[in-house]
Symmetry: C2
Subunit: 321 residues, 2 copies
């Protein structure tokens, strides 16, 4: 398990931006399960986090000084500014945001989180109206976005989360058709009760035993979109996988891993849909905002212990502050 002691606080002067670079003041930092994956020293789709360098992280910031014609001081931007007050980054790596919505939302439903749920459901799993969709980690950032998108596309949606409070939130706030508390209930049995005709689409954020339970309840021709497997991210040794993959043959199940950036060519279209659903109130943004630069490592732990409901962010500063 990663702990706050794995990180050190350090001070230094911000560099001067060079040609086509920006100096950005970080306003909100984002916490994502994938950040745990690149703390492992093993090959993945991005190189491991180097020890002794600034921890990488997505953020919303404000341009303080620009040496690019594309952006000006005062502009609000998104990018990988990391766990630091000020960052010098290539201007091309920062995306200007209109700021029609609260800033943390750009790290949530209007950012990578929303796009992940959107492409996972619509392009990978190809949900259809009337289908039964199960979402794990449903009270988390991606899960709560996925559950809402599946609902607004006309699916029956069952969410899985840890604890009665989160399950109540899934039913009362997200208005899901069912909720399962994996900490206190038999997930396989409850999936059987809540999905009597089987699961058409399982949007998996967790892997492990819950994935196994879902495989056992898939409907013929069901699809499983693998978004991430947070249950195993802190394990030193991998846990055994699902023992029922043979069911994928007889029921012709498709299981597919995906990364949001594979759909980059369709991001504009995705953002347009997400913005319109947020504007119409069909898609709500749920953000857990912690505060204070010194609390960054502690806040990172929250997403692994399940302390957060919705997207975990931390506020460092106000714009123009």
């Amino acid at each position: 398990m990663v702990t706050p002691d794995d990180f050190v606080y350090a001070e230094g002067l911000a560099a001067e931006p060079g040609e086509n670079e920006l100096l950005v003041r970080t306003l909100y930092v984002s916490f994502d399960p994938a950040m745990r994956a690149f703390l492992h020293d093993r090959p993945s789709y991005i190189p491991p986090q180097p020890i002794g360098e600034v921890m990488r992280a997505g953020a919303v910031g404000q341009v303080v000084e620009s040496r690019s014609p594309q952006l000006a001081a005062g502009d609000l931007v998104m990018g990988g500014f990391g766990w630091q007050d000020y960052a010098v980054v290539p201007a091309a790596s920062a995306m200007k945001i209109a700021a029609n919505h609260p800033l943390p939302d750009y790290l949530g439903v209007l950012g990578g989180i929303g796009l992940t749920a959107y492409f996972g459901l619509l392009e990978v799993a190809k949900i259809a109206s009337g289908e039964t969709v199960v979402v794990s980690g449903a009270a988390g950032a991606t899960g709560s976005a996925a559950a809402q998108i599946a609902k607004l596309k006309g699916c029956r949606v069952v969410g899985i989360a840890g604890g009665p409070a989160k399950c109540r939130w899934l039913l009362e706030e997200l208005r899901l058709d069912g909720a399962i508390d994996y900490k206190h209930e038999d997930v396989a049995a409850r999936l059987g009760e809540l999905c009597p005709s089987g699961i058409n689409v399982y949007f998996d954020n967790v892997g492990g035993r819950i994935l196994e339970a879902a495989i056992g309840r898939m409907a013929p021709k069901g699809r499983i979109a693998l978004c991430g497997m947070i249950s195993g991210y802190n394990d030193a040794r991998p846990s055994p996988g699902p023992d029922n993959l043979f069911e994928m043959v007889s029921r012709r199940i498709r299981m597919e891993g995906f990364l949001t950036f594979d759909f980059a060519s369709q991001f504009a279209e995705g953002r347009r849909d997400l913005e319109s659903w947020v504007a119409s109130g069909q898609l709500k943004s749920y953000v857990d905002v912690q505060e204070g630069f010194e609390n960054i490592p502690k806040t990172f732990m929250r997403i692994f212990t399940g302390a957060n409901t919705g997207k975990q962010v931390l506020k460092i500063a106000d714009p123009n502050g």
Copy 2:
């Protein structure tokens, strides 16, 4: 493990065929791993084999008496005639064969086996020329057909089989680009050596540890076609599954189970291709022919112990015999 003692030999008079039925003399019976699956008393895509009834099995036979205008006495036919000398079946369940090829081949590359390899590779895994394809159970019926089809489609093909004799056969007879003896070699390490750019397509006949090793070596955007999982068919309790499914996310791997009958609408096209490849010598039929009705249960065991190379059949009688 199923044993010959699980079956009893019984004699009785063949029934009279009714309207639109046939009396068929069984000539060759087919042995398939899937037959083990329906000996379990659990729901699957076909109902379990009822205890006390004739064991179900595919076969080639000859019509002895026909009460259908579609078929005549003497016609050679394929169908589910079971483990019996004579069967009374609906005429619609029997398919007439032209018999341009040796009869056992109709239970192999020209039958369900060939179609399974064909649709698994071309429709499920969507192989492309130049890709690296790994086939497990490569000296078996479906595996040897799949390995040959992948070769004739221009792929680099690595086969996995049990024992040095089978591996030699894969290299010398099937002319594969590599062979791995899972009984004596470290499959994961050998896959790394033989597939330095990763596996684009894994055609899985076995599941278990070999599936896990293949997942660990998949190339980005790799596809795994799950055809069956013979390694677990005789297990009373399921074995742990692959512990590395998280790799499916970062490398965007698709794993998909399939059943050949889902492609029934394309069978004619599949048979046409298979016949033409057999005629041109690009696709060879490998059949292990045992003989004698009394040896049926013993022969069934051969496919689970890996005694067969190629398709396992048993000859009961000659046509017109």
